[in-house]
Symmetry: D4
Subunit: 237 residues, 8 copies
């Protein structure tokens, strides 16, 4: 059997604030720097690794929530079995462990079509774990304006809007024309052909004719949720 470690190869150096679990290194000081909770990005990690990191973080900070995102079905299943206190959302592909913070301010998450549901759900969970109150309106695509107009009053009551849409990504422009509330647009990879994996929606949102629309990466519900929570917490009325 060959050696799998090379005695001549140097051990890489790592900062002291990183706990090395072998299969992953856990950042233990992010929250201290930014006031945000610890987060485990599940993509590319095995179920056992996600489980291990969640447990480690939870043990260090039992008094506040830890969030895991982009979980596979297998990971969600394992967490459901081994972490009975975790709250799992198979649509959002998230897990939350530990008590949620007091909600401050109100984030309203608006999404266009059924296929955008996973990204919208990731926004909801993320914003809630990051300390905001969250409400959600679904299925208000621009090709069915009457639905959007029916919830128009809700838009102005929010402290921050997150608008999720794939395909042509037109919803943020329409919503942005109806209200002056800060609006974060999330393009999704929903579509085919010339949607080019969400590029069409991304470009549409960046070129919105409604002033004051900002945009995050394709399918980046997590980033939008963090941002919206920060805005909403500060505008809490």
């Amino acid at each position: 059997m060959a050696r799998v470690t090379d005695p001549e190869r140097p051990e890489p150096e790592r900062p002291a604030s990183v706990a090395d679990l072998g299969y992953a290194r856990v950042d233990l000081d992010r929250a201290a720097r930014t006031g945000d909770p610890e987060v485990v990005y599940g993509a590319g990690k095995t179920p056992a690794q996600v489980l291990g990191i969640l447990r480690t973080l939870h043990e260090r900070h039992p008094d506040r929530a830890v969030l895991a995102t982009r979980l596979t079905g297998a990971t969600t299943e394992l967490l459901g079995r081994d972490l009975p206190d975790a709250v799992l959302d198979p649509v959002a592909r998230t897990a939350v462990l530990g008590p949620l913070p007091e909600p401050r301010g109100r984030v309203l998450v608006v999404s266009a079509g059924t296929s955008d549901a996973p990204v919208a759900a990731e926004v909801v969970t993320t914003a809630r774990v990051h300390g905001a109150g969250v409400e959600q309106v679904e299925d208000v695509g621009v090709a069915g304006l009457h639905r959007l107009l029916a919830v128009r009053d809700r838009l102005d009551e929010a402290d921050c809007l997150v608008v999720v849409a794939g395909m042509e990504g037109a919803l943020p422009s329409v919503v942005g024309g109806l209200t002056g509330v800060p609006l974060v647009a999330v393009p999704t990879s929903v579509g085919y052909g010339a949607s080019f994996g969400g590029l069409a929606a991304l470009l549409g949102m960046l070129n919105s004719c409604a002033p004051g629309v900002t945009v995050v990466n394709i399918d980046n519900g997590y980033g939008a949720g963090v941002f919206a929570a920060r805005v909403a917490r500060g505008r809490d009325r």
Copy 2:
């Protein structure tokens, strides 16, 4: 076992015209708004979900056709077993349930190569379900002009032409130079290398030197069928 629903997470709000089947929300009023039939987009849905939605829509509107598109093989199989009255087309990957409308006007679907057959068939079924009479000519690629010229008279007799082609997407230009009938071009993802998933055909069609050619998204046989039926119904002679 962890909770899979979060008591603190708000239930998303949905318009009243949407029937929630749990796994999908069915739009019950589109036809009322536009005069078009109900349609189920099969991509990303399980066979059982497609079956359930088709049944729900059919029960609400037993007097008119419901269309399902982009069906997987497994879905087609399930529908064949459980919906004995459905008309299935494995090439078009469509299912139709309920009586077809009276055909008005004539859509002629022209396609270039054997590989374009699924998209062409989706146009045929969609246009027929949306109320147009439909005829079809296949295998008339630009590299074999004699075949196209042999059906030249048929082109002028149509109320709307739908021209389906992959690779370089040249067929709409050639057909568009032969007739003044409204022409919708459908680029397909047939090709490899520098076809970039249908981008070459799409760009070719958008830059057609034949005046009056309009274009839909790559592989969007459904959209072309809807449009062509609307044109043909209005031009019924």
Copy 3:
């Protein structure tokens, strides 16, 4: 002085139906093939060349309109001086010479912003010269929905809609959700940065979530006008 023609160089062959004016070759049989008027594409031609071609075509067919598009300011000025019977539109950058055909059917041209005016005007003139009746609604961008909703009834009364928009190109999706009339979308190059010369609007329109939207090339008001006139003429009620 050097010879500017080469006695050894062969004279290129041209079809008999092309009248050679030296600086340009005029197609004299297009109308016979498709029923459409003669058209001069002004881009890349000198004012004198456009003038000469317009005169030649008008002399051959004094009984019907000839259209010139994409005219520079200098060309428009020359035509205004030397062709007193021409109707010039500096915004559309078009000239029309000869009697307009009887209007059949109704094309409604809807545009989003002030900067889209030249393309919208090109659609209007082209569709009218190609035999359709034309009406126009401007300044109904998606960020000001109330304006669009105010003209909603007009949409259903048209035989064909042409929707012109730059930036994110969302207007066709919104209009397409309000009506079942055939709709041609024209992306414009209005925008900056990540609009990439109209690419964002083009992709947005190709990925429209409203069924039955077809698209032409960026800024191609001429092509949309030809197509819409063909549809409207056939649906004349």
Copy 4:
């Protein structure tokens, strides 16, 4: 002389809330809808047109500021001569007419290099006119970290950060790692070669590894300023 208007061409319809100055149509109700000031987008307008629109808007609303952006040198010169009460900023290419609103909250605009100054200045003016207090830090590019670290305390004191950078667009990631304040990133077209007109900076910011960074279009200082003012006003402490 040819007619420049066509008696057969229909007059386009426009909503009642739009004042038609002939060369431009002025939206008189935007502020009522969103609480934001009136804005004139100067690109593509002649100096006389910008002057006329500014005057019209100012006469209607003498009690609040009107903003003009993207002004050419010639326009700035004309405004300086004919509108003695206007405040002009040749770097930001803006003009402001009428009294500024009371500043609420604090926007901090951070920019990377000297060439980013025009976009940063557009953010400053826009945010101020939209009701926020504004401060600015320049020349803190990522290749000179010590400068950024020297102003670190200022970052946390802001209600909203706007970070402006061209080339690789790395500054928002670095700033975003230092603070939890809401951060809007503005990519600029500063760069050459593989910057592709700001695309590199745009992609860099969209892929930021710092959570909670949102992005606007390339060179869109106006949009970032509007958004940041909305956030800061609501977080006023």
Copy 5:
């Protein structure tokens, strides 16, 4: 006055086969290696520089033709005045000095539209100077098939075909389906919007459904002419 040469800066080394005219370095051995004539690429050179290089090359090889391509109007004018023996083609933007070689084989250059004329003419001159007999057919775009079919017999008589087209670039596919003669396709930058400077035509030609079509760079009439002459000379019958 500052020194414009740096005594410390090394003089760059150059191969002996390059004649240095100060403003340009002339390759004197290319013909020996490949049997092709000397060629001056005019883009980026002043009229005087092109004149000087042409003279130098002609003096070295008075017995064979020298070709200059991509000439500006000013250069053509200067050459017309100072090189009375040169044959100038303002459309092709070429100049030829010295006796043409005996024509061997036959190249047929087929082009689609009037705007493609400069590139087609560059192919004609280049192929002729490189030793082939050349014929030309113009104005046979795919939207007017009857013109192309009228010259169909000519296609089979050629030793090599060069097909020049812009916009959607469909002509090579149609011609390639009519004959088995070797065919080189030249995309041109003719077009606008989604033609992206000739990219649409280039992709169209690379994806041609006609077997045996090869392609050169956008507007590269020179390269196509060199290639076609090589093929035709070898197939001389």
Copy 6:
């Protein structure tokens, strides 16, 4: 059980020269038009389908070769079992059935790296079946010039060169500088990251500084083989 054919759906029309095998339609007259053999494009066809088409074509033309390309492993296996007279090449992924034509002229296929072998082999088989004599040189990448220079004399002896390379696609430029023989370049999809599926090699070849290089689509060994055979047959010495 649902009906899988719709009595109301029209049967698509097909030209008489196409033999319908149910699962595929076989073109029986291509050879008559161009002098080339019948070819079966194996991608997207089942093993049984390829077998059926090969048999049908072979029975119609037992006196000449039929070529099948892009075969999967399963298809190759089935053909090996059921068509004992076929010549199979698992590297080229081709099958040939029937007697090869007399070789005329000489095609030399030059390839850069081991990974380019499948495309190079497809060129070899295609050119041979299309009537040319073929020779091959492998492993002469530009990073090991000595190997290429060792076979330099072979280049000039060919009637047509086909140069196959992936990654940066530099080999055609180097070979093209060594000889004046007609040269067709084939970019392959060999590479990763910024090769973008062969785009880097394609662009490199289109921009070759060696005059007279033509290019085919990425991985299109078949197209290059057809073209080269046509050139070589005509130059047979």
Copy 7:
């Protein structure tokens, strides 16, 4: 059974310095030309093929190391069983057989996130096998500047820096602003959405505002390691 070799097909010619193992051809003289070790690129090769090539090279040069890169899990497993003297690194996906050279100079490999570890490890192993001493610092992303600043002194002590980062690829700019040591940047494909497979990181690094940053292909740890070792060996102090 069909013949799988064609008696009429010519055997491709290969240079003498290439050892043909049947399934692969091994270059035996690269080291002689450049002083670098032999390398096996494992992608696209079966475990048995990699094993065979490694053995062949090791037998020829038992006195120096042979490197294999891009190994699959199955290959690593086979090598672990059959080559007990090999040093395997499952993270770097590399194998090394034979004695390592004496380390000269010092390469410091700096990487941003956990997901960049495989590429960073490939740099480490490659640079070490190519004769440099290597050290490594991990987890110093730009969103956590304090970690990077903690190792700042280490940067200046290196002879060459290799900086590995995905997503926005900002780390090289920050490191490049802290030191004047030669710096090679390696973009990784870590990211999603608008990272476009590493394109965002690649463009970011190419546009770095820190002078003197050079870049290799996406995920090309091998290339960076070779380059850095060459630099470091020559700067050995």
Copy 8:
């Protein structure tokens, strides 16, 4: 006259190490951080501004060279008149003021074609000012291999190679296969059509099959010169 400064607008804050000349802010501490000379990037600055910055920097550091790059013709003219001690290079578009450092090590700059001369000259001047000895070889494009092979010995004698090429960018691969010296490749924007402003050359170089090639931005002779000088200084023998 309107006020051009706004009393309410805050003065932006700048680090103390930046000297504000009004029209530009001069970084006075870069050299201290990295050991490199001060550099003025001339693009976007007026002649008077470049003159002023050069003077300021030279007065602070009369004992060492200051470099200005990307100078326009007008700036070069002004500097020639007002800075008699400056060394100007109109081809490289550079100016150098103050004594050059002692040359350490040897950079060899190799370029492909005449049009690449400005970028190659920028490399030469930059590397020399940054402390390296520099030599240069021009006109050694890959289509004329004999020229490159004639200078082969020179390659191995250098401490760092900089290889400059446009169009297909193949030269670095060929040079990189001939030597093991560290090699930096500089793509230039020389080319047309599918060169896409240097993108083809950039992609070619990033995908080089020669190991150990690193790349800088398109036309970035300055960056390559800085990097090469750093490498060469450290390898001084």
